[in-house]
Amino acid sequence: MRRFTLYILALVIALTTSACIDEDDYDNSAKGNIEALWKIMDQHYCFFDYKKDIIGVDWDEVHQRYLAQANEKMTKAQLFEVCSNMLAELKDGHVNLYASHDMGRNWSFKEDHPNNFDENLVNDYYLGTDYSIAAGLSYKLLEDNVGYVRCESFSEALGNGNISDALYRLELCDGLIIDVRNNPGGNLTTSRRLASHFTNKKTLVGYIYHKTGKGRNDFSNEEEENIEPAQGIRWQKPVIVLANRSTYSAANDFVKCMKVMPNVTIVGDTTGGGSGMPMSSEIPAGWSVRYSAVVMLDKDHKHTEFGVAPDIQVDMTTTDHENNHDTIIETARAMLRKD
């Protein structure tokens, strides 16, 4: 018995001391950084197949093309530009490279499309100065008895109490406009919390899954995402959600969720997308890299990475803008007004 115990102990020690768990060696050259960046994306990014189908990105071809640009005489700024350009191939607003001097990005999801939003116009002619603020919600009852709620970000904490109080103060209006144009996202928990005030029953809003390994198609099973009715006031009247191409990430998810709620109409432009939950890593230069890591689908198992289409497409017109009218808000008001 004593001998057996000693053998076991010796075996465990031998295995333990010989098994060093570490990552590949660190190469802070131009080639090393491009290679490391490509590899991080290759092993963690979640949309390769989808992007290949929709925009024709071949990540292996990208590897060859950008590795050929590696030159050990290039400056840090030049290396950063090459790395950023490589990431930009994916056309994903959640894919970024961060250095102290710049942020690599591809914002074509909004830059290639009309703005459909003018913050000054909204502030000067709709919210004015006598609006109320409940955490991240700015709201006001407009003259035609339509409630207007502006939510410019989901980064700020927004509790059920804030939402309920705002909805309570707007309870006599004929209908509600929730304006999430130019909302870049924030916390998914916050956007889902707001959406939970617009349903009376548990509602399936989509599916979620993540990478389970380094392979490009190593994914977990899809899991249902449901929204439970909020504890507090639940809105029963018509709601119109305003969106544009700068409605991104958690705001894109909000529009996706609201689209399946009863009494809700989406008006404006297609959202900017950004349905991959981003995570972060880094490359040897010390630059941080962000990438989409978790896939979120809509209730029909469809991607919303490139946006959620509105129920009614409306663009802001130049004439309206010159007359200090927001075409999209005015369309929503007309739909909600009870003349």
Binding site: T5, I8, L9, V12, I13, L15, T16, T17, A19, C20, I21, D22, E23, D24, Y26, N28, A36, I40, H44, C46, Y98, S100, L188, T189, I208, H210, K211, T212, G213, K214, D218, S220, E223, E225, M277, P278, M279, S280, S281, E282, P284, A285, G286, W287, S288, R290, A293, V294
Partner: protein, 275 residues
């Protein structure tokens, strides 16, 4: 100051506790506390593929007492260890903060190998709770660490005289053998794990092949009035490869502390005991 406060509170309490025990001969128990600082090397591939290095701080609280098991040849040891590290990546553009606490209990059989030399070995159990935080990651800013393990432990004591004093050299090694460990899946977000409560192999069977880890403690002790001054080196090599995620936390600390022995009939002892 913290060390002095802990020492002040721990020693009288220990004495009181031991006075109630009915232990076999030699009815002696040891309580020790050590603090130390050193260096640390952490890899957590859920946060970054690169090693972060920096300063480590450790506190070890240890007790040891005899039992009646196997004709009094088995002693029971408890170890409570807290450690924290402040770490940088190599480019010094990001920081990580790692820390945790481990409680372990070991039952060790004693062999008198030679004059002044004793060897002890046996099974143990330990639990760890900790985490690592990266100060610039977005949806994966941290990684929680937790495990419950069955350990194998062994230690050797050597008593000798030098400069008209008794000294004791001691080396202890602990190797986690089997148990359970917590980990997210490869690309699983904490939003899925905790907000949506989507389980995905987050509790893993851990064993010495996928969590090849070791804890070492080398000390030298010398009596100083009613207590014993202790100097040493603590080396912790925690590793894991679970759900495709790689983790290591290597930390080495220079330790200093005191030990004190308690007996049922007399409460002080001026020389180094064989454990």
């Amino acid at each position: 100051m913290l060390f002095m406060a802990m020492l002040w509170t721990s020693l009288p309490l220990s004495a009181q506790t031991m006075a109630d025990n009915d232990l076999s001969s030699p009815q002696t128990c040891m309580h020790a506390i050590m603090v130390g600082a050193g260096w640390s090397n952490v890899l957590e591939s859920y946060l970054s593929p690169y090693n972060y290095t920096g300063t480590d701080f450790t506190v070890i609280r240890e007790t040891m007492r005899p039992t009646k098991l196997m004709q009094g040849k088995v002693d029971v040891q408890t170890l409570f260890q807290i450690n924290g590290s402040i770490l940088d990546n190599r480019a010094k553009t990001a920081k990580e903060y790692a820390g945790g606490l481990r409680y372990g209990i070991n039952w060790q059989y004693t062999w008198d190998v030679a004059k002044g030399l004793k060897v002890m070995a046996g099974p143990g159990a330990s639990a760890y709770l900790g985490g690592i935080y990266n100060d610039r990651n977005g949806n994966n800013p941290g990684q929680a660490k937790g495990d419950i393990m069955v350990d194998l432990t062994a230690q050797a004591f050597y008593n000798f005289r030098l400069f008209r004093r008794e000294w004791m050299l001691r080396y202890e090694m602990t190797v986690p053998f089997i148990g359970m460990a917590y980990t997210p899946n490869y690309g699983q977000s904490y939003y899925e794990a905790f907000e949506l409560e989507n389980y995905d192999h987050n509790l893993q069977f851990a064993h010495f092949a996928n969590t090849p880890s070791m804890r070492h403690l080398l000390t030298i002790s010398m009596p100083m009035k009613s207590a014993i001054l202790r100097f040493g080196v603590s080396a912790n090599y925690q590793q894991a490869k679970l759900n495709g995620l790689k983790y290591h936390n290597y930390n080495t600390d220079i330790m200093v502390g005191v030990a004190k022995y308690f007996e049922r009939k007399t409460t002080t002892r001026n020389h180094v005991l064989p454990f």
